[in-house]
Each structure stands twice: as structure tokens, then as C-alpha cells.
Amino acid sequence: MNLRASAENAGSHPADAMTVKVWRGDRAGEFQSFAVPRRENQTVLDVVTEIQRTQDATLSYRFACRVGMCGSCAMNVNGRPRWTCRTRVDQLEAGPIKLEPLRNLPIVKDLAVDMAPFFDKWRRAHGYFEPGEHPPEDFAIVAPDSAERQTADAGIECINCGICHSACDVVSWNEEYLGPAALNRAWTLVNDVRDRGQDERLAAVSGDTGCHSCHSHMSCTEFCPKALSPTFSIAGLKRATSARAWKRLR
């Protein structure tokens, strides 16, 4: 499809154009309006790509796979954090489309955010496998239908898109809060029977920065495109850290 030709043609049919308000600049930026023609099977990613390629080449945004696998295209569409490649224009409410970068992360430019603090929280939550000082020589045998493995598998599909972190109010209110993605990953590792760093991990996910700051708003679970439930993973961390604290008190 020759977008440039289509754009020129569509310019003569203003009734088919929709208004798209896009955030420009960084935190001290503003919205800029564009008129984009409606097309069949259009996704919001198609819209923002058309703007960048045919109307304003200075617009910055991210995408990669464009088929709902990588999570790179995550941004706020009409106030909701979503993957733009999986958001069809005809499923949005009527009226102008509002595009903003993900919340709770520093804005690099326009619709692109700095993901470094997000991954930093991942590390701080010990969201990595700890083999211990003497890892076994051979493969560990972990039955896929064991309780722990099923619990870990329920949260393992996270691809770090940042939508849950954007949706979370506690992340907005409490800068040090590790957030749903990091804590969800920590929970999958708490349920990894091969891991040898459980005590340090449970300490890392405790307190004001950790699971105890979650108030179960469930925005993370509501918006996760992989249908994960960080709320319930964090509830699991609350139980695990409580059991550890109770053991130490006795």
C-alpha cells in the first residue's frame, strides 16, 4: 500500500478523517493534532505510523513485531495503556483519539519512554534466577503439573511491555514501589524449586518498596495484554513474606 498516495487521495475526503491528538516533547510537552484517514482493519499502530511517514517525520514512537508478541508498541490510548498493534481503531470510542506515552516512566521524546527504571526495578526485586554456589551437575527434574510449577507458569509469560507499571496507581504515588511486573516475576521465581536465592528475594520484595504496598486496585490485572494477574502474584508474595516473618518471630 502506497501510504503517500493514499494520504493524498484521502485528503480530498475530509469526512473520512479522524482527529488524532499526539503527545509531543517530553514532560513539558503538549498535544499536537493530526487528521488521519480511516482505513479498513486499521490499528492504532497503523495510525501513528501513517502520521510519522506521511505527515510529520519528527514523531518518535516504538514498535517492532507489529503482531502482538513483543510489547514494544505499548502506550496510552485514550487514557488506557495498550499495545497499539492490538488496538483496532473501530473498537475505540467515538471522538478524537488521544495518544500519550506510558505513565510512570521518564519520557524520552513524544511517545517513547525510558524503560531503564522499569528494568532496574526488575533487578531490585531479584527477578533473576539464582543458581546458588553449588548448582547441580545434571538437569533438575521439575514436574510440569506440580503445584509450584503451575503457579510459576501462570505468571511466566510476561514480556516486560510496561503496561501494568503504567496502569499502577501505587507506582504513581510511591516512586520506590517495585511495581507489578517486577513483583510478578519475583513470584514466579519464588515458585522455582531450583532457585537458591529465596531468602534474599523475599527480603527484596518486602516493605514499602515491595509487595506490602500493593492495595489490590487490580489495574495491572485489568490491562495486562497477556492476561496475567500480578495482583494475585503479589498476594502470593504477601503470604510468602508473612510466613518468613512469622517463622523469624517465633
Binding site: W173, N174, S213, A245, L249
Partner: protein, 109 residues
């Protein structure tokens, strides 16, 4: 919030769930047809069960409320640090003192 504070708050929450249920049922039953001081005090005067119940209720509330308030103040008022913890201890002490006084007031009156 530490795991211990969290356990204290959720633990007292369980206690309060029972206490509040009993309290609400008692209130709604007791206020039928109006309520005078004499009627309230007639029920609570010298009644060790009521005293014991109210003391447990007060202690649980004095632990539960400040821990909850702490989260609210940290997140909405951006209050951090030692001063917040001390303020919450003060709230706890206030609730304890006033509450124990009230429990004995209706027991002794």
C-alpha cells in the same frame, strides 16, 4: 511497612472483623425504639464480658488504624521518614488511651 507491621495489621483485621460484626448487630438491636444513656449504661455497667470485649476491640483498632493511615499519608500526603512513624505511634497511643477510658467509663458508670 515491614512484614511484621503487615502481619499486625492483617491480624488485627481478622480480630476486628469479628468485633465489628458483633458491635453492629448489638447497635442495631439496641437502638430499636430510641436509645437513652441510661439504657446503654444499664447494659454495660459491671458487665465484665462487655468490658473484655471492648478492650480487645480498642487494642485491635489502636494497632490497625495507624498502620492503615500510614499508607494513606505516605502515598497521598507524601509524608516520609521518622516523623511519620512517630506520628502514627502517637495516634495509636491516643486511640488506646481514649478507648480504654471509654471502655471503663461504660463499665463503671
Amino acid at each position: 511497612m515491614t512484614p511484621v507491621l503487615y502481619l499486625a495489621q492483617r491480624g488485627t483485621a481478622f480480630v476486628l472483623a469479628f468485633a465489628v460484626t458483633i458491635h453492629l448487630v448489638t447497635i442495631i438491636y439496641a437502638i430499636r425504639g430510641g436509645l437513652t444513656a441510661g439504657e446503654i449504661l444499664a447494659r454495660t455497667h459491671g458487665n465484665r464480658w462487655f468490658l473484655g470485649f471492648y478492650l480487645v476491640f480498642v487494642i485491635a483498632a489502636a494497632i490497625h488504624a495507624p498502620i492503615g493511615l500510614r499508607s494513606v499519608l505516605r502515598e497521598w500526603a507524601k509524608w516520609r521518614g521518622r516523623s511519620l512513624d512517630l506520628a502514627m505511634l502517637a495516634v495509636s497511643a491516643l486511640l488506646l488511651v481514649l478507648g480504654v477510658r471509654a471502655a471503663f467509663a461504660v463499665y463503671l458508670a
